[in-house]
Symmetry: C2
Subunit: 438 residues, 2 copies
């Protein structure tokens, strides 16, 4: 057995150690439910905070402050005793030696839970990956906010009509909930806010284009909701192009599969995600970017290794390709696995996971949302109120709830969004030099 | 006359053009008061927002969100017609050709107002400049917040007692209002918040040291207030060393002029500021880092060039070395100059500026502040309430007032601070590589 010199210290404990990778919805739901168990819990995350991803698009579109949708993991999990947080990216798992390797050192585990979520999927398109804006993390949302505002500042001083067009246009790829919500929020900015900020610019010239590969929006929801979302977005003057794919993007012009092109300095990529997990797991467990787990979240071909949330592909009769990569699945799997794990520790029988679908929803903008509740499908103001209520009660931390609510009330009644700030200028990767602090 | 190819475009106007450099207290006070004048106003700032500097230390110490103390300049100055904002750093002034040169191009002016404020003064100490944390801008406050939290994360995994000490200690240099306020806020964090977040660390070992070169704190205020501040800070367990200067700092150890040294990964430099102005101004106008102006804010040796706020040194009988570099002076000079300028445009007589001192104050922490109102000097809870009230009504934008107030109420009753987030990791300048987005 190799000698390990870089063991990450934690206080010794007589209890077995469960290491959890990732402080997303799945990871924190699990840790909270393990409160009071006779285990030592160590949570790893590359950030010291949990991100409330469903509202990330509001940070990108100047509706919310970044801190409002983030909550410090240490604070949130303070009530759990025997809990240790370690900030650092996890590179690899060694299931034979029961070790993980991270940027801050190595750690052994008795039980390992992989809850590392998902990352942006560019489907191998290198030029898009280099130049598009993803929307999965808070710094990315801030980069996008800065970039959009910087483009309008640049638009006020350009004399080149082609540059002007490209700076003002915004292209969104992907007609799922993120794409639809971003497009709606940008439509609101264009309608109510930007013309006041930039009276010199003609906003009739600004195009917001939403591209979707299939023949409808919101594929995960009902046809009714997809159709409603399309109508609402048109009211916000969003140009929707269905059955259209991006084939390349150089940062200024996007080429499409219908042989046309669109000029835009901003391409927001909301077209897909894939599982995100460390190296070292067996071949047989990896399929389509996710980890195959059985009904008890056990990763195929490993012992004492589990996966929950987006990264886990639990293939059942109802979900032959795994459950959808959604927050409710992650939360339910985190809680269910905690119960199973506690039973197992006591020598009891585990129970297979079954997903309780509570419906889905998406907001398009002011007074406009769509909701699917089983056979019930509706849109409009009531849907919008429900969307706001559900998101407010889901966001973690009472303080965040208060601040998000205050902001929404403010934005609603003033037709204003307070955070049109370029706190750190966005510098494209290819222009970043050694000395620059961004 | 040279040919200029990079003129920044603005809509042509029949009115004379006044160019204002800097959207700080002086600049925005001036622009607001020029509302309705028959001039074209162009404001330059390197940021698209105004920073409410008096609360910057609360962003650095996790009490407030960065967006709460910033307000977009375009939004704020929307009511002023004939107003243009241009984002870009101004490098130089050419008073002969009546031009300014900026990172986004060149612009001509009829009247120029320099309101570029002040920057950190390291008094030529190169090692301090390289490694200390200044506190003049929002990104600096965010860097400091991240750095302090990263140090505590690193402290939980180090086995080296010297590193542990250095990571936990914080050194503040400068016993003026900023130094005192930062020290107090850090004392509160140490007492009420950090021990909950990091139960593994022994906070008795954490030292917060405040160094001041003179023999008292708050030199700009009364002796009574300086003495009170000292007592309050001691209650927050801040170690105060008077008559002490830093001679060098390598990022881990600070050497002092009394031949001792202090280990700390964090040195906050609040020991001095100096005027900050572009190149190209006459020698005779520059003195001690500021620009000499007469009683009408006219820069010495220039025509149609004015300076207001921190950057201006108006030497009067009461203020033989210029007015103090404070927000109230900047605001009053901005407003006064606007009145003078409007009179001048109409061919009237200008009036010399006279400063109306409304007193000064500083907060030390929970329930503790000091106030000087002329001969009246007092501290404690009442002073603290006054401090909060004055800062709340001074902060620009009703939305910001609401959010700051909500945060304060929350922090006060919960003994919590919500924003202990490392949104963008701080990477020291010497470790920044090409590819890293910070």
């Amino acid at each position: 057995m190799e000698q390990i010199n870089d063991m990450i210290p934690v206080t010794p404990s007589p209890f077995p150690r469960i290491v959890v990778l990732g402080g997303g919805f799945a990871g924190i739901s699990l840790v909270k439910k393990l409160k009071g168990s006779r285990v030592q819990i160590v949570l790893f995350d590359r950030n010291n905070y949990h991100t409330f991803q469903p509202l990330l698009y509001q940070v990108a579109t100047a509706g919310l402050e970044p801190d409002s949708i983030a909550d410090p993991l240490r604070k949130q999990l303070e009530p759990v005793k025997n809990f240790y947080f370690r900030m650092g990216e996890v590179f690899a798992v060694d299931p034979n030696q029961k070790l993980i390797r991270t940027e801050i050192g190595t750690m052994s585990y008795d039980y390992l839970v992989i809850a590392t979520g998902s990352k942006t999927n560019y489907f191998g398109n290198e030029s898009v990956m280099q130049n598009a804006f993803p929307l999965k993390q808070i710094p990315q949302a801030l980069d996008l906010r800065s970039h959009i505002l910087q483009n309008f500042e640049a638009a006020t001083i350009t004399r080149d009509p082609i540059e002007l067009e490209s700076r003002m246009n915004i292209l969104i790829v992907g007609g799922g909930p993120t794409g639809v919500e971003v497009a709606g929020a940008l439509g609101e900015l264009k309608k109510n806010i930007l013309p006041n900020d930039y009276p010199e610019l003609e906003f009739e010239k600004m195009k917001i284009v939403l591209l979707e590969g299939s023949d409808r929006l919101l594929n995960g929801m009902s046809e009714h909701s997809g159709e409603k979302a399309l109508q609402y977005l048109k009211k916000f003057d969003v140009d929707i192009q269905l059955k259209t794919l991006v084939t390349g993007y150089d940062g200024h012009v996007a080429t499409l599969n219908n042989d046309t092109s669109i000029r835009s300095h901003t391409l927001i990529w909301a077209a897909g995600v894939q599982g995100n997990y460390p190296d070292g797991l067996p071949e047989e467990a990896q399929q389509g970017g996710r980890l195959i787990v059985d009904g008890y979240n056990r990763v195929k071909g490993c012992e004492d290794v589990y996966a929950i949330g987006d990264v886990a592909s639990m293939q059942t009769e109802d979900f032959p390709r795994g459950h959808p990569m959604l927050a409710p699945v992650a939360i339910q799997q985190g809680r269910h696995f905690a119960r199973n794990f506690k039973k197992m520790l006591k020598g009891g029988e585990m129970e297979p996971f079954s997903y309780h679908d509570k419906g889905s929803m998406a907001t398009i903008g002011r007074n406009k949302a769509v909701v699917d509740w089983g056979k019930l499908q509706f849109g409009g103001f009531i849907a919008w109120m429900i969307w706001m209520f559900v998101h407010l009660i889901s966001i973690i931390g009472f303080r965040n709830r208060l601040i998000v609510f205050s902001n929404w009330v403010w934005n609603y009644f003033t037709y204003d969004k307070g955070t049109r700030l370029i706190i750190r200028k966005f510098i494209p990767k290819n222009k970043l030099k050694t000395e620059e602090t961004v």
